[in-house]
Assembly symmetry: C2
Homo-oligomer: 300 residues x 2
């Protein structure tokens, strides 16, 4: 079934304790769509400036990612983020942000995208996320990401959005902030009461938790020594998860759990190099081979 992502497309400069890269391809919609494209075709909606390298667009198009929703602002500059990771490769410091074209556009969907079955609303203001939903006709599954900024500063708008989505994906610190509860199991259950039918809490190197009315579970991350750059891991996780769901065409509990595992595994490849570099080296077969090891790891 069809899959749509609305999110950021960015240029990132990244420093880690051992290496750094200048002006590489980044952004939530970028990592999401590339990761989902291992499983299904993807429709991407985002905005970039005229400075955005054509080769990046070619890279996405070559992966069965429909970029007709990628709006290029004439004379505009692409969203830029510069960050630095601490030695634990988890905490990071933002050194510079240039919102540029991301600052003042409400996302607009091409006519051909308005009927899409599976929707992922990448991290954005709840008002922008709502504006996307208002342009969609009859979606089967809507999943959203959010962040601390919106939890703090657009709380009412976020609460309204939560009543309109099926699934919420967020990281552990955001779940604690949203609920005021330090216990993630309690936090997950509290968020369910705010509207979504399921909640996924990402725990970085510790995996991800799933909550629905009838199920609570946690799956660990795939243990890897090779963590080069964690940027985009969360979006890569969401891309793997939603890509698999859309490919299967359903979201029953069994499929959702498989999708959680695929999300975790695609993310485990994503962190093995900067930007999309590692994902460009692998195939669906590599993911499935890691899945076999992962299943084996979890059975006893």
């Amino acid at each position: 079934m069809s899959l749509l992502v609305v999110g950021s497309v960015a240029i990132d400069s990244i420093q880690t304790p051992t290496a750094s890269r200048e002006r590489v391809l980044g952004g939530s919609a970028t990592h999401f769509s590339y990761s989902a494209s291992f499983f299904t075709a993807v429709r991407l909606v985002g905005v970039v400036g005229e400075d955005f390298p054509q080769e990046h667009i070619a890279l996405l198009r070559g992966r069965n990612i429909d970029t007709s929703g990628l709006h290029v602002v004439p004379g505009g500059k692409t969203f830029f983020w510069k960050g630095k990771y601490q030695p634990n490769m988890n905490d990071r410091e933002t050194l510079e942000v240039q919102l540029n074209v991301l600052g003042d556009v409400r996302p607009k969907l091409p006519e051909s995208f308005r009927r899409t079955d599976f929707i992922f609303l990448g991290n954005d203001s709840p008002l922008n996320q709502r504006a996307v939903l208002d342009q969609i006709t009859g979606p089967r599954l809507v999943v959203a990401d959010t962040m601390d900024l919106w939890i703090r500063e657009q709380h009412a708008e976020l609460m309204a959005l939560l009543k309109r989505i099926d699934g919420l994906v967020m990281n552990d610190s955001e779940a604690k902030l949203l609920t005021g509860d330090e216990n993630l199991v309690a936090a997950g259950h509290k968020i369910l009461k705010l509207g979504p039918r399921f909640v996924v809490i990402k725990k970085g190197e510790h995996g991800a938790m799933f909550f629905s009315e009838h199920e609570t579970y946690v799956l660990p991350a795939y243990p890897t020594e090779r963590v080069i750059d964690p940027t985009g891991a969360g979006d890569s996780f969401a891309g793997g998860l939603m890509g698999y769901l859309a490919a299967q065409g359903d979201f029953d509990p069994k499929t959702l759990k498989e999708a959680m595992a695929y999300g975790i595994l695609v993310a485990s490849f994503c962190v093995e190099d900067f930007s999309l570099d590692r994902l460009q080296q692998i195939s669906r077969g590599d993911i499935d081979r890691r899945m076999e090891q992962y299943r084996k790891m979890l059975s006893f």
Copy 2:
């Protein structure tokens, strides 16, 4: 097969964000032996003062824990720890420590304990741990715990000990400190090179990792909303793990992985109340029922 633990027996006063308890039964050997006793008989070696309540000894004896190695120092006072947990229930502050009888005794094993198959050296100075090993004849499996204090202040002694043990159990921050590596997978592999045939890194609410020459895996914690007091969870984990191994009488990779899971589940009960309160309410059947749910959670 026979199982021996050498460790602390303590009186704890504990404050959590929601409750507190004064002078309850604590200590590494206490939590370890009670947890192991769901699976097998246990030999306990430790030291207490004359103030140590008889009812605590009766409680342990009632569980098939042989306390003939519990040395009562005439006129002495039992090791006392007072601590306070932060709202995240992970970080804790020590408010008061009275070493008392723990300060100046080398552990001494009763003659009848010297031939034991499975040995757990609870957290203690590497010199004391070595002194225990020197009293043991022909053990089949020796596993030790340690802590930041010994890593920092008795490094050479610890390095010597690592060459004499089969398995090392420690928590994530200690593994990072010992290796200087922030990546736990890398840290686990580095510790293997220091001597032990397997290494277990405990991650608290995030579960535990296992490393041997041929295997690396991580198992998540059992997700629970009811975290009342994390004190003793790590020792409870080790007790479940070693208790299951001793009951099975082997430590091949399959048994070790099952033992890891049992350790995780016994610890998940331990944190559901103060001291041994929750463990006193449950049976081996309750652990096995949770094991069924845990296995189900990890299969997809």
